[in-house]
Symmetry: C2
Subunit: 112 residues, 2 copies
């Protein structure tokens, strides 16, 4: 747990970004990664959220440039579509890399 | 993405518990899992936190029964020690299981 020079390296969680790691936002990003383009109501059902809570997290992700939110119509009904941006894809990939490092550390010490 | 009966199953993130998933608390749990018993100052350095922020998250974990916090001495200096409880070990294991499901989903759709 100590480097040869006596310093302690930072823990993998210090590299996690709360913007992406937060549970609901991680859910939004993984779904739009899977579905390429996801409808607001679909996200709400999948993530079991209120509309207000989903809107709030979408706003955070949109402001950070990780998703694009566009309003349109399906017949006469308004629909909101969410897509992952290139920056969002990079951020999700980075989160997955860090999570794997974290999991590897936990599993190395299992039963140790 | 749809079950044979036409319903959509909930997303893996709905099974994540914010108590454990939150970045700093996940860090605390993984370190005390590794180290069995970690000193407050060590946690603070590893997680790059202020004392106040660390105390706050330790309080949340202690109230939930996931860690035990005990005060003692190293020579004449007061020390605070943190250990993982059995419930904390179960909660961390559960988080790791969910994260792996999430990672598998993201990686299945990579380049798809």
């Amino acid at each position: 747990m100590t480097d040869p020079d006596g310093t302690t390296p930072a823990h993998p969680v210090t590299g996690l970004d709360d913007l992406v790691h937060q549970r609901v936002r991680l859910g939004i990003l993984t779904i739009v990664h899977e579905a390429r383009r996801a409808e607001f109501g679909f996200l709400r059902t999948q993530l079991q959220l209120t509309a207000g809570n989903l809107s709030q997290h979408l706003g955070v992700l949109e402001s950070a440039g990780l998703v694009e939110v566009e309003k349109g119509y399906a017949g006469r009904r308004g629909r909101t579509w969410v897509t992952l941006t290139a920056a969002g894809d990079v951020a999700l990939t980075e989160e997955i890399v860090r999570l794997k490092q974290l999991i590897a550390r936990v599993e190395t010490t299992n039963g140790g």
